[in-house]
């Protein structure tokens, strides 16, 4: 409409008035945001403090500060289950490591092919790949279970790692395709003129430039696998192979109301690594969400 009058010149007095009003408004916005942020994360902070509280205080005192620091909650929680808690952490770590390696290798390979190479049926395969991002795990889990059962893989980590080696987390393929498309194609051509094969180009030129996308993939894989409950619940029933989420569930069922303090302590232990990765990798996380649009 009136785009030709983009910078209206207001008289100086009015402008100062408006600036004062603006400052007040900014202050109010900040107050509102801080209050809201506090309400949002209060339960988290409260759980952290409750993990140091004696039991009766958990059920009576909503404040964030424990009257005494009860380290016993952590000591008790660590040994409350059939195995010490580090066994479960170790099991989770093994699965997470396998999943990260699998996703990094298999998804980057597929992404390079989709982003840079020409081949028959490419459009169709790409569309199918995108569709599988939306496919509910519930639709395929039963035949997968039967399949892995036939392989004798129930109560092993294989059903949780092998699919990652086969690029089944299509979300990460998409993420890396988007990233590789943003790299200048001249780099590929230059390396090919210099005699690089497709694999040479992929390994020596594309991958080194993809480090940010690989970092995003690694961080998301870590968080999702560490948090994953459903598939671990289904494939791991052996007490020796339980992971952190399964151990927490076991703890909840076995102890119930009697030891909330140590249950909270172990929950904090379980959330710690995610929080750490969140702090360390925030930049990559936010960029990952913004470029692909999926949490």
């Amino acid at each position: 409409m009136a785009t030709e009058t983009l910078t209206p010149v207001s008289p100086p007095r009015r402008r100062r008035q408006r600036r004062d009003l603006g400052a007040l408004r900014r202050l109010l916005i900040h107050l509102g945001l801080i209050l809201f942020a506090m309400v949002m994360i209060y339960p988290l902070l409260w759980m952290l403090s409750a993990s140091f509280k004696p039991l009766d205080e958990i059920f009576s005192d909503p404040s964030l500060f424990p009257s005494t620091f009860e380290w016993r909650n952590y000591v008790d929680g660590w040994t409350a289950l059939p195995h010490p808690f580090h066994t479960y952490i170790f099991n989770s770590m093994v699965i997470v490591a396998g999943a990260i390696i699998g996703n990094l290798v298999s998804c980057s390979m597929a992404a390079y092919a989709f982003a840079r190479l020409n081949f028959p049926l490419k459009g169709m395969l790409f569309a199918i790949m995108l569709a599988t991002i939306m496919l509910p795990i519930h639709v395929v889990i039963i035949p997968q279970y039967i399949l892995f059962n036939n392989f004798g893989w129930i109560d092993t980590f294989w059903p949780l790692i092998v699919p990652k080696l086969l690029a089944t987390d299509a979300f990460f393929i998409f993420l890396m395709v988007q990233f590789i498309r943003g790299l200048p194609r001249e780099l590929d051509e230059a390396s090919q003129i210099d005699g690089c094969s497709y694999w040479g180009t992929f390994l020596r030129v594309i991958m080194p430039l993809c480090v940010p996308a690989l970092a995003t993939t690694a961080i998301f894989t870590f968080i999702w696998t560490w948090n994953d409950f459903y598939s671990q619940l289904i494939y791991l029933r052996d007490i020796d192979l339980q992971t952190v989420p399964l151990a927490l569930r076991l703890f909840l069922d076995a102890q119930g109301q009697t030891s909330w303090g140590s249950l909270f302590a172990m929950s904090i232990v379980a959330l710690g690594p995610i929080f750490g990765f969140f702090l360390a990798g925030q930049r990559y996380l936010v960029r990952g969400i913004a470029t692909t649009g999926i949490k």
Binding site: P43, A113, A115, F119, M129, P245
Partner: protein, 332 residues
């Protein structure tokens, strides 16, 4: 996101590109033909290379995704139960659904969860994104704090926390007691248990908020300035500039969050102790499916349930796309 629209047709640029090959006359002179065969072999080499890069993906697609999908469709017409053979029973599993009260209950619970929590969550996400987009100082800090619950929300630890927070002697009731209000045992009350899970989903509004923020960045500031000059107030600017230009992103978030919400499992499982109680008030569809498939090992019926879920999600996604024609605005 606009990225997606671009992504759906990835080959358009390349497949039409490249110089057109020489006319394929059978008696074309020798040098032309050799160039053509050269180009052909280069193309073939590229296809083989692509196949080598894609081999894990293709194996995974066939063995882990498409194969099991077809298998579960087949199983849904059988009485398979992990032990013994799969006997073909036709549509019996699907007929059984019609008078399965727990299934109907679970569909009701899931629909209420999806269609209450997703709009609330998106409204919250949009509101916060709007506030943060006005150049608030310390934006990265606020964004991180609001995003944190999205990362943690799916974990068992948070579900355990929720169970205590909304328990009879939980945090919520302790705070209410400060105001002299006697709260319910929210988790153990069939009328409120589902609401606590809805609140949990709304609590994870951070990830759509980050997407909204990225979308708001794309709206040119000059639109707002022009509108202001024309005398449009903040409300008018919101409805006439922000909302129309943001509709593609609202749509994207809506599709995504609905699909996600239909698949929610962990929180309901932990909060209700795996049973979907009290009195099936938190029996999500996925919980019932798990119960049939992996507790009762009634895998034929569970496969039918899985396919019904896929149909329901597919139906709502298709409906979403159909309706988007009427309200999503894709610029010019």
């Amino acid at each position: 996101m606009t990225d997606n629209e671009v992504a759906v047709a990835p080959t358009a640029r390349r497949s039409t590109g490249g110089p057109p090959g020489p006319a394929a006359t059978p008696d074309s002179p020798h040098p032309k033909r050799s160039r053509r065969t050269l180009r052909k072999s280069a193309r073939r080499r590229e296809s083989w290379a692509a196949l080598s890069f894609l081999s894990p993906f293709i194996v995974g697609l066939l063995v882990i995704t498409i194969g099991p999908m077809i298998a579960s469709l087949y199983l849904s017409f059988t009485d398979y139960s992990l032990i013994g053979d799969a006997n073909w029973i036709g549509l019996e599993n699907y007929q059984r659904m019609l008078d399965d009260p727990r299934l109907l209950a679970s569909i009701g619970v899931t629909f209420r969860y999806v269609f209450i929590s997703v709009p609330l969550q998106l409204a919250m996400a949009l509101a916060l994104a709007m506030v943060l987009d006005r150049g608030v100082r310390g934006l990265p800090i606020y964004r991180s704090i609001f995003y944190l619950p999205s990362l943690l929300g799916g974990s068992v630890a948070i579900a355990i926390m929720w169970r205590q927070v909304f328990g009879t002697e939980g945090l919520v009731n302790q705070v209410l007691a400060l105001f002299g209000i006697q709260g319910e045992g929210w988790i153990s009350h069939p009328d409120y248990a589902l609401d606590t899970l809805i609140i949990l989903n709304v609590w994870t509004f951070g990830s759509p908020m980050v997407i909204f923020l990225a979308g708001l960045r794309q709206i040119p500031a000059m639109y707002y300035e022009a509108a202001r000059v024309d005398g449009a107030g903040p409300v008018r600017r919101f409805f006439n500039i922000t909302v129309p230009l943001l509709t593609p992103i609202i749509f994207f978030n809506l599709v995504l969050q609905i699909i996600n919400a239909f698949q929610a499992f962990t929180q309901a499982f932990i909060v209700s102790g795996g049973k979907g109680g009290p009195s099936d008030s938190t029996l999500f569809y996925t919980l019932y499916l798990y119960d049939r498939g992996f507790t009762a090992f009634d895998m034929g019926y569970a496969s039918a349930l899985a396919w019904l879920l896929l149909m329901i999600i597919g139906l709502f996604t298709a409906l979403n796309f159909l309706m988007s024609k009427f309200w999503v605005f894709y610029g010019d």
